[in-house]
Symmetry: C2
Subunit: 146 residues, 2 copies
């Protein structure tokens, strides 16, 4: 059964700042000064990396019991490469991430083999990971001039 998720992003009057919202939650987005912003919040590509790490962490928590895996703490460090010449139009290189790497940390956990099998499951199951690693159809449903 399809679940629909929704969000809205509104440009703020000055600079590059954006207020985004989904249900009753909000995330502010900006760019660093080097890219013309005021550096008040994360940039969108950093928000994307947080979505990925957050999703991996939630998959770890949500499925640990069903996989009989115990650990005290989990965190993941994520790093991604963008060639900004693509965004700037100085090159035909893609504007998005070329590669995203992550290192997962489990504290006081099970034997290594068991954790590695669980990580393999996590990678297959993570909705944000799948949405980044594989193509998603983006559809422009309309441009409205108000």
């Amino acid at each position: 059964m399809i679940t629909k998720y929704r969000a809205k992003a509104t440009k703020l009057p000055e600079g590059l700042r954006v207020e985004t919202e989904s249900r009753n939650f909000k995330i502010s987005i900006d760019e660093p000064k080097s890219l013309g912003g005021e550096n008040k919040s994360m940039s969108p590509v950093e928000v994307l990396l947080c979505a990925l790490g957050g999703c991996q962490a939630i998959v770890a928590s949500a499925f640990a019991e069903a996989h009989d895996v115990k650990f005290d703490d989990f965190h993941v460090e994520i790093e991604g490469d963008i060639d900004l010449d693509g965004f700037m139009g100085k090159s035909l290189v893609r504007p998005g991430f070329q590669e995203i790497r992550y290192t997962m940390h489990f504290k006081r956990s099970e034997p290594r083999e068991k954790i590695l099998r669980f990580v393999e499951f996590m990678e297959k199951t993570c909705p944000v990971g799948d949405s980044i690693e594989n193509e998603v159809k983006l559809v422009n449903s309309g441009v409205i001039l108000e």
Copy 2:
């Protein structure tokens, strides 16, 4: 030239909540109660949609002048479909987004044709849009048992 972006996601002790950070900025992530969370923050897939909308809004702001396009306000509404049976392991359907649709709103803007050309440019240029619409290589750099 490659710019590296970094983030970290840390599972909080109770429930599914995650604290994510990039540079000195933080975003909290949770799941609604229907998926086992406490509904304190957006879910990761909603954060992904906010990253997309935020990126589109920043591209609109950042490139308007260079494209000689003027508008007073911009916002974008985004909607995406996920079949949660994939995440739940009840079906082989992909766990991520099957489709993401967006409607862009410009206020007191230029002639429609000019805005549509600008939107086409925005879609090609948006780093988060490219990262979702096209494949990104995800690399597991390590699993560390502490």
